[in-house]
């Protein structure tokens, strides 16, 4: 899913422009078509992943992100959802000479989105940060792991490289979460090479940590709540762009009760059909992974909802993976989980109920809906 978030990053850059615009236009991907710009490395063949180094940045590639989503629960059962994402986007290739010598000169821009879903209060908070990769205002590194934009950060705890501390705050919500990143990364696509389109050829490197244990605090209006839960970590980098005719995607990341996990992204073409490059991964409770092709997953939209921005999003699905015998009904925990960032998109905590091979199964996760337009 290199492209999906690259588009978000680019569009956000465009929109840093429209600072005053009250309603950002729906994601427009067409202007971004074209081959990866000269001077950047391209994801063309499978590669050898090295951890923890690959948690760090890959400056030879044009774009990259660190994506955390998770469902949290307090001792009394009160639930929260969170999304914390950091994008890196290079404006010029690595060797480019800056036009001046000011320390503020930057080749890369970092962007972060923070969202908290608070179903008990019926509230959804979203916020964003943009920052240049200069003067340590924003950046990422592998050892010890850290990625940050201003004071929003995920940093490895000293001496415990696989324990990461997420800290971010905005609009009355603050997160202080400790993430257990000791699990084995799941390589999506072809050994981590995720092909997104043929025209133009584009692919990215894509891995996930589908089940990060979370402990920590959600601070709401100054009142801290102790929480535990499960988070999903997506990592992707590349230099490509969306294929001609692709307008958006629906991304599902579900953590199921039996210890399994399902990731699937349905790329949507301009004519409304599903793109053949849609793909996913199923992770068995044992950790064994099964790549899923476009045709192996059925997504049926059961309902729609019109967000405050006027955009009409799907809001209930039935997801089936027939050859695994998996059928799940997926519903948002709160309908209104549209990020009022630039650009606007929907990314929200969901519940899943269904069965696998006849056995009842429940789960939680996140769904991302990008590229939907206003209802006419």
């Amino acid at each position: 899913m290199n492209v999906r978030r690259a588009v978000i990053a680019l569009a956000a850059l465009a929109a840093l422009a429209a600072a005053a615009a009250s309603a950002a236009p729906p994601l427009e991907v067409a202007p971004l078509l074209g081959p990866a710009p000269a001077g950047f490395a391209a994801a063309e063949a499978p590669r050898e992943f090295q951890f923890p180094d690959d948690h760090g940045p890959h400056p030879d590639f044009r774009q990259e992100w660190w994506y955390f989503t998770g469902n949290l629960e307090a001792a009394d059962g009160e639930r929260f959802g969170f999304e914390f994402t950091v994008f890196r986007f290079a404006l010029a290739p690595p060797g480019a000479r800056p036009p001046g010598d000011s320390a503020w000169r930057a080749r890369e821009v970092y962007m972060a989105h923070l969202a908290v879903t608070d179903p008990a209060r019926g509230r959804f908070m979203s916020s964003e940060r943009l920052e240049r990769a200069a003067l340590d205002l924003a950046g990422a590194r592998a050892r010890p792991f850290a990625v940050w934009v201003d004071d929003w950060s995920v940093r490895a705890v000293e001496d415990v490289p696989s324990s990461w501390l997420l800290r971010a705050q905005a609009d009355g919500y603050a997160l202080e979460l400790e993430l257990d990143a000791s699990g084995t990364p799941v390589l999506n696509g072809e050994h981590g090479l995720s092909v997104k389109s043929d025209t133009p050829p584009s692919a990215s490197y894509y891995y996930s940590l589908p089940r990060l244990g979370v402990r920590g605090r959600v601070i709401r209006g100054g009142q801290a709540r102790e929480v535990t839960g499960l988070a999903w970590f997506d990592r992707e980098w590349g230099s490509g762009v969306l294929g001609r005719g692709q307008v958006g995607w629906d991304w599902f990341a579900l953590q199921l009760q039996d210890g399994s996990a399902l990731m699937y992204y349905a790329l949507r073409d301009r004519d409304g059909t599903r793109d053949s490059h849609s793909a996913g991964t199923f992770v068995e409770p044992s950790g064994e992974t099964r790549p899923l092709g476009a045709g192996e997953v059925e997504v049926e939209v059961r309902d729609h909802y019109v967000a405050r921005s006027g955009t009409r999003y799907p809001s209930a699905w039935t997801v089936r993976v027939p050859h695994l015998g998996l059928e799940l009904a997926v519903r948002p925990v709160l309908a209104d989980q549209e990020l009022t960032t630039r650009p606007r998109y929907w990314e929200g905590a969901v519940d899943a109920t269904g069965s696998r091979a006849g056995a009842k199964l429940r789960g939680r996760g996140y769904v991302e809906l990008v590229g939907y337009g206003a209802e006419r």
């Binding site: 010598d101 320390a103 905005a170």
Partner: protein, 843 residues
């Protein structure tokens, strides 16, 4: 009641001219009040808007005493903001300077679009055309945004290249977009990325200030406290609102003068209304008396007149508000120009209509109209019907009132004196005194007019009978002539007062300039305000001052420093060969200069007044070491800076601020060297950097021309007031002429030619003008004293030597006679051609 109303209506229908005059009087009176306030309010609003554009969403600003801040402070705040209960702090770095494009000097703002809080940067961001531009913004050198008006003036289009002159270098730039037309206050503005600004202005690692946004409420207060605790001592955290208010205090002095003018407008306007409306009622006293005789009750008559006055008042006041808005539009430009000359660039793009002003003007108009109707109505309604029919009774009563007003006038003058004496600093008391004084003039005028008219008639006893009759008639028709003359006298008094004040002020300024500007040439680096590019470094100072032909020089470093009392202008000076002799000390003598050389400061009169400090006191300033106390060794006269300033020895400044740059040089020529030749050498030495070189004569002329432009608005306003008073005179004469048509006709039948009648009307009017002027002369002198010694002193702390110049009186005299003449033209013409028989038959 039907009958009564019908009678009124018929009367009004038959006297349309009278109705029109009353309406015109009301309209102009209310209009003047509205216009003056509108102009002031619009200029203020424009100023506030431009401040908002500069400050944007920022609630606070962080700045340092030394002028700029290390960028590391911003980084520390952005990545490790002070923690206070989940309340976020937003900060944004800003670099400020100036750049020249073509012949225009633009404010250069280096902003960080990612954190921008300032309105200018937001406006800039809003103008960014897309991802490509966003990328260019960071990666391509020289990308700038410009305000649309400047770009238009320079003939630039988006995508076009341009050359900028920044900090003495010529640099290439490309216009990436406009800062929206709808961004008020975004005038003469150039925005670029903070990295680019840092490079252009040659300030690596430094930023000018940090904008901060703290949330409202207790969370914000806690955050502010946490933030303060985290800041180094040399860094100031100031609420932008406080800073704006402080900057705004600068215009207070200016608006003070404007308020004085609008007060005058209110007074003159009210007199005009009073005159116009009361004539309307008085003229009908016959009709009303007949109605009374026919059995109408007092209350009915009173109600009728008040109803009519209310209708007239509402209509006239409404028209006045409209007219005022129209005149206000014309005045706004003048006011804004004054502010631009004096303080900062303000483009008044829209006229602000303060509702309160409209309400006050409307209410004043209506109330005056009601009062103006009530007084004569009470009189007519209260008098026995047969007496009310007699004008002689009426005039006798007017004379009684006029005489009764004399002690009242004396009382008002005493009250004014008391108001001044009982308060030492209150500006309001000053205005009250001024108000009382002007009213006293108005109260005195009718009695004075009657007296001089009587005396003049007696003195002319042997001469022309017509003239004698005419003059005696002026004194006997006080009900007509008194109020009009009073309004004119008051306007003239105010005019003389203001003219004397302005003249004295100008003379004081000129004397001061003469004494202060002792060097032959003044040299500074170009740029409208202080910024890094405008300074001379020590090497350059040496180069410039060691050129042949230069006998001596003085050095000045001017900047604005922070203090617990807000920002203060600091003038750090290495004195020239004449030492302290170029200053006039109001406090402290020779010892002050000795102390000055050893670390003490001198403060200017306005500052001394504003901070209530004087010789022997101390003044705390924020230096890079934190708050430092400086002893105050003396107070000096200064008219260039109404906010006040501090004079400090350059050596003292350098010790505390560790800054050896210089903002300006004063060059003293060696004998036998011409200023032009030395200026040429200086320019050649500095090339390719430009120099601003001015001779002392040029600066004097420039300062005085700025001063003159400042008071253009004042002049316009008092001509307006005099014009309104003249109109009052017209309506008074017309009303008078109408009511004595029969007498005039009688005179005609007794052998006076039509020309003679016209001449008589003319002479009466001129006499009234003259009388008003004579009253206005002493009153004007006192007014001038109140304006200089009380109001200007209390508003600015300036000490102005009152100089009585004949020019102010001459203008007032010419204006008085001109007003009288103009006012008499139409009534005289009417009087001359009135058909005899008709006039005789009227009653």
């Amino acid at each position: 009641m039907r009958l009564l109303e019908a009678a009124t209506l018929r009367h009004l229908a038959r006297h349309r001219a009278q109705l029109a005059l009353a309406l015109l009087g009301l309209t102009l009176g209310v209009g003047t009040i509205v216009a003056v306030n509108l102009a002031t309010a619009s200029a203020q609003a424009a100023f506030e808007r431009s401040l908002r554009t500069v400050n944007g969403a920022a609630t606070h600003q962080l700045s340092a005493a030394g002028g700029d801040l290390p960028e590391s402070l911003y980084v520390a705040l952005a990545t490790h903001p002070p923690a206070a209960g989940g309340t976020p702090l937003r900060v944004s770095p800003v670099i400020e300077g100036y750049a020249q494009a073509g012949n225009r000097v633009l404010r250069l703002i280096g902003s960080d679009p990612f954190s921008a809080l300032s309105g200018a940067a937001e406006a800039a961001a809003a103008a960014g055309p897309g991802a490509q531009a966003a990328g260019d913004w960071l990666t391509k050198g020289g990308t700038v945004l410009m305000d649309a008006a400047s770009a238009r003036a320079l003939g630039l289009k988006v995508g076009q290249s341009l050359e900028l002159r920044v900090a003495g270098h010529t640099v290439p730039a490309e216009l990436a977009g406009f800062i929206g037309e709808d961004a008020p206050g975004a005038e003469a503005l150039l925005v670029t990325d903070i990295a680019q600004a840092q490079e252009w202005l040659g300030m690596p690692g430094r930023i000018s200030r940090i904008d901060a946004r703290l949330p409202e409420g207790p969370g914000g207060a806690a955050l502010e406290q946490a933030l303060r605790a985290q800041l180094p001592a040399s860094v100031q955290l100031v609420a932008t609102r406080a800073r704006a208010r402080e900057t705004f205090a600068m215009t207070d002095a200016f608006t003070t003068n404007l308020h004085a003018m609008s007060l005058l407008a209110l007074l003159v306007g009210m007199f005009l209304i009073y005159g116009a409306v009361s004539f309307g009622v008085l003229q009908r006293r016959t009709t009303l008396a007949v109605l009374r005789a026919l059995g109408a009750r007092r209350g009915e008559i009173l109600g009728l007149i008040l109803k009519e006055a209310a209708l007239l008042g509402v209509g006239g006041a409404l028209l006045g508000v409209l007219a005022g808005i129209a005149i206000g539009h014309a005045l706004v430009g003048l006011v804004a120009r004054t502010i631009n000359d004096l303080y900062f660039q303000v483009a008044v793009t829209e006229v602000t209509v303060p509702v309160a002003t409209l309400v006050v003007a409307f209410a004043a108009g209506l109330a005056t109209a009601l009062l103006a109707a009530l007084v004569p109505a009470l009189e007519v309604a209260g008098a026995p019907p047969n007496l009310a029919l007699s004008r002689a009774v009426l005039e006798a009563r007017a004379r009684r009132i006029a005489r009764a007003l004399v002690p009242l006038s004396v009382g008002l003058v005493l009250a004014a004196a008391l108001a001044v004496l009982a308060s030492s600093r209150s500006l309001l008391a000053g205005f009250l005194a001024l108000f009382l004084l002007l009213i006293a003039v108005a109260a005195l005028t009718p009695a004075f007019l009657e007296a001089v008219a009587r005396l003049a008639a007696r003195a002319l006893g042997g001469g022309s009978t017509v003239l004698r009759l005419g003059l005696a008639d002026v004194g006997r028709s006080l009900s007509r002539t008194g109020v009009a003359c009073a309004a004119l006298g008051m306007a003239l008094a105010a005019m003389i007062g203001v003219a004397l004040m302005v003249g004295s002020f100008r003379a004081s300024l000129a004397t001061w300039l003469e004494r202060t500007l002792q060097a032959d040439l003044y040299v500074s680096a170009p740029g409208p305000l202080e910024d890094a590019g405008r300074l001379f470094m020590p090497g350059r100072v040496r180069e410039l001052t060691t050129l042949p032909g230069i006998a001596a020089h003085s050095e000045a470093r001017r900047l604005r420093v922070d203090s617990p009392q807000g920002e203060i202008d600091l003038n750090a000076l290495r004195l020239g060969p004449r030492g302290g002799a170029t200053f006039t000390l109001a406090q402290g003598g020779a010892p002050a200069w000795a102390a000055f050389e050893h670390g003490a400061v001198l403060i200017s009169e306005p500052l001394a007044w504003r901070l209530k400090r004087g010789m022997g006191g101390t003044l705390a300033l924020v230096t890079p070491q934190g708050l430092t106390e400086f002893p105050v060794a003396g107070v000096y006269r200064e008219y260039g800076n109404e906010r006040g300033e501090i004079l400090m020895a350059l050596r003292t400044y350098r010790e505390h601020w560790h800054d050896d740059a210089v903002s300006g040089l004063g060059i003293y020529l060696a004998p036998g060297h011409s200023a032009e030749a030395v200026a040429q050498e200086l320019r050649a030495q500095a090339a390719p950097d430009p120099l601003y070189i001015r001779s002392n004569a040029q600066i004097r002329a420039l300062s005085l021309s700025i001063f003159d432009r400042t008071f253009v608005i004042t002049r316009v306003l008092y001509f307006l007031a005099a014009g309104v008073a003249a109109l009052g005179l017209v309506s008074a004469l017309l009303a008078w002429e109408l009511s004595r048509a029969r007498e005039l006709a009688l005179l005609r039948t007794l052998g006076i030619t039509p020309a003679g009648t016209a001449l008589m009307v003319l002479a009466q009017s001129l006499f009234m003008g003259l009388a008003a002027f004579v009253v206005a002369v002493p009153a004007g002198l006192v007014t001038a004293w109140v304006l200089t010694a009380v109001i200007n002193r209390r508003a600015f702390g300036w000490h102005i030597d009152l100089e009585v110049q004949s020019a102010g009186f001459a203008t007032a005299l010419v204006l008085a006679l001109l007003a009288a003449l103009t006012a008499a033209l139409y009534p005289a013409w009417r009087a001359a051609r009135a058909p005899l028989t008709a006039a005789l038959r009227t009653e």
